[in-house]
């Protein structure tokens, strides 16, 4: 297996509000190989964006806290770094594309200045002319004529603005790019243009990418790995082949696929998952998906499922622990009468 660029181990994040504590991430494990793209899929509130913000240490101040866990980038735990060192990593080693290109650009600076800012910050010894040349190069790379760098964000269309945001994110050739729903706000023909461009640039810079999305179509087209998140956990992870062509899946993944109308065949009814995501302030004790699951068993109520592994494919569900052969801890608990460790 290729070298791990980023490894997230047992990450717990909570948000504190006046009334409640929101359990946003509850033990996320995730790793990204250099140059590969992993798709992070899940519905609103599953913890996708929180995961990305934790990596960059951009959780809202005094509200979001990392309770436990490690985020290791090339052997270095990002959570141990001083803020000043973290600032050198943001935009340089790890950068992020936000969902909404309309609000992530500063309206009162020209786009050229905004691309130049990140280059200047991370290359303090660059001369003006060198920065300028790099800005021109980035603009051309995302398909916008360099003479438009003196224009302001409002003079560009949505798709063009997203290209600028991508140019900013890639300006320092980061090792890891976090793309939070980069094409959700765009029309499909523009989405196709942007996705292709991101794919080409990723190849060119050998950048690894975490692509956050709820669109399984986008995932199938551009990702190498897929992680499915639910209620602050990764409940299934594997290569795209495992997820799209494997025959064993977490019941939630099955429900997710049943919910999208299939373009290739005519179905009379969709098979959605009944019910709603659990309240993140009061999560169930056992499996978080239990209440919506068609295969709910007694042990799902009581015991948090362990991860069952087969090759590159991991599923966090009681259904699979005994079936997949190895005597996993949860299977042993089941045999000894459901006692907790």
């Amino acid at each position: 297996m290729a070298e791990k660029l980023l490894e997230i181990r047992d990450l717990h994040v909570t948000y504190r509000t006046d009334d409640d504590v929101i359990y946003a991430l509850n033990g996320v494990n995730l790793s990204v190989e250099a140059g590969k793209t992993i798709g992070l899929v899940g519905e609103t509130g599953a913890g996708k964006t929180t995961t990305a913000l934790s990596i960059l240490r951009l959780l809202p101040d005094r509200v979001g806290f990392v309770r436990q866990g490690e985020i290791v980038l090339e052997g270095q735990n990002l959570l141990d770094l001083a803020e000043a060192d973290m600032r050198m990593i943001r935009g340089n080693d790890v950068s992020m594309i936000f969902q909404d290109p309309m609000t992530s650009l500063n309206p009162i600076h020209t786009v050229g200045d905004q691309i130049g800012e990140v280059i200047k910050l991370h290359n303090p010894d660059f001369r003006e002319s060198e920065i300028d040349a790099r800005v021109d190069e980035m603009m051309e790379m995302v398909g916008i004529p360099a003479e438009r760098k003196v224009e302001y964000p409002h003079q560009f269309s949505g798709g063009m603005k997203q290209r600028i945001v991508i140019a900013i994110a890639l300006a320092c050739s980061p090792k890891l790019l976090l793309a939070d729903e980069p094409t959700t706000a765009l029309d499909v023909t523009i989405q196709a243009q942007v996705l292709r461009m991101m794919g080409e640039l990723k190849e060119k810079f050998n950048t690894a990418m975490i692509l956050i999305t709820h669109d399984l179509g986008v995932v199938a087209q551009i990702c190498d790995w897929v992680a499915i998140m639910y209620a602050g956990e990764v409940i299934e992870i594997g290569t795209v082949e495992d997820i799209f062509e494997g025959d064993r899946h977490h019941p939630y993944t099955v429900g997710l696929f049943g919910s999208i109308p299939d373009m290739t065949k005519k179905t009379k009814r969709l098979n959605p998952i009944e019910g709603l995501m659990p309240d993140p302030t009061a999560l169930p004790r056992g499996c978080r998906f239990m209440e919506r699951c068609p295969h709910k068993m007694q042990r799902c109520v009581e015991i948090v499922p362990e991860i069952s592994e087969k090759g590159t494919h991991q599923i966090k569900c009681h259904l699979f622990s005994p079936l997949w052969g190895e005597s996993t801890p949860s299977a042993r608990i089941w045999e000894t009468g459901g006692k907790r460790r």
Binding site: T189, A192, L195, D215, A220, I260, P272
Partner: protein, 316 residues
């Protein structure tokens, strides 16, 4: 073909802007038979929402006719219009902003009943509210809650219950599932299709999501810059798309399967401005098959097969 319930003829809406006339809807002719669903697809700014609103006369058209059961609703006076609103309703895109935050669920659903005066006694109205909540799958315990206490899916169910409150025949659905997560989206789509079967509703379903429109529609109209460029039965449109824009749109959708992990075909450029459009085909600047005539002659919808209309010079 059955007699159409709703029909438009040369329907036009131009908005005046500082820079000139914005052609939001330009000569659109469609017919929707009773009990059927016409899907309207297109990208942002193509005029699909404006078109939906024109059908209900929520905005006044610049020209053309909207026929409901053969009657031109643009000639109705205020009183006639109010009676008509019992038969035509709308479900909006955003369940977060289309519900009054200061009204409870029961007040929201009861309002159209009170406005149109279908029922007058308080307990009758409340019974009807409970009945509607049952129809759309909202538990009775939510009757006195406010919209902000509910999630998107439940809010959209309120919007649907409100539209159904006066027993309409025709509902314009303006992107009713775009703001929802996929699992909730599927629940709402199933609900809308069940309601159509049970009540014989007719839908105009506006969306930018081609997989959703394929699932729910009988016929599909593809719009580009205010014009309908292709109109056909759903299967026909997906199996034999003719207009270059329709083809490009179908090619651009990412499919959730590895078998079709194709090199996505991409059309160049972006939608041009709808303000004072140049003569000729509006898609011409982005079209792979552009000919000399395309920037001179404006194509019109031509029937190229049974019920399959295309507006492109390639087919005339």
């Amino acid at each position: 073909m059955k007699a159409p319930l709703v029909e438009t003829r040369n329907l036009k809406k131009y908005f005046e802007t500082a820079r000139g006339l914005l052609h939001a809807v330009d000569d659109v002719d469609i017919r929707i038979a009773e009990g059927e669903t016409l899907g309207v697809v297109g990208e942002s700014g193509c005029g699909k929402s404006t078109f939906g609103r024109l059908l209900l006369r929520l905005i006044e058209p610049t020209g053309g006719e909207v026929l409901f059961k053969g009657r031109n609703i643009l000639e109705c006076n205020r009183r006639e219009m109010r009676d008509l609103r019992r038969e035509v309703q709308i479900i909006f895109q955003d369940p977060f902003s289309s519900l009054n935050p200061r009204m409870t669920v029961s007040e929201i659903i009861a309002e159209p009943i009170k406005v149109t005066g279908t029922l007058s006694k308080r307990n009758e109205i409340l019974d009807r509210v409970f009945e509607l909540m049952g129809i759309v799958g909202l538990a009775e315990r939510f009757v006195n809650t406010f919209p902000h206490e509910l999630d998107g899916g439940r809010r959209q169910r309120i919007g649907i219950a409100r539209a159904l409150a006066v027993n309409p025949q025709f509902i314009v659905c303006d992107e009713p599932v775009s703001a929802l997560d996929v699992s909730i989206q599927a629940q709402i789509l199933n609900l809308m299709m069940d309601l159509q079967d049970d009540m014989g509703l007719t839908y105009l379903f506006i969306t930018h999501d081609l997989s959703v429109v394929k699932h729910i529609s009988d016929h599909i109209a593809v719009m580009y810059l205010g014009q309908c460029v292709e109109l056909a039965e759903t299967d026909e449109l997906f199996n034999h798309p003719c207009h270059p824009y329709t083809k490009a749109l179908l090619d651009a959708i990412p499919v959730a399967s590895l078998k079709n992990r194709k090199e996505i075909k991409i059309i160049k450029g972006e939608v041009s401005s709808p303000i004072n459009p140049r003569p000729g085909c509006r898609f011409a600047p982005r079209c792979a098959h552009m000919m000399a005539d395309c920037s001179v002659l404006s194509p019109t919808l031509k029937e190229i097969g049974p019920g399959h209309l295309v507006s492109c010079l390639l087919y005339s």
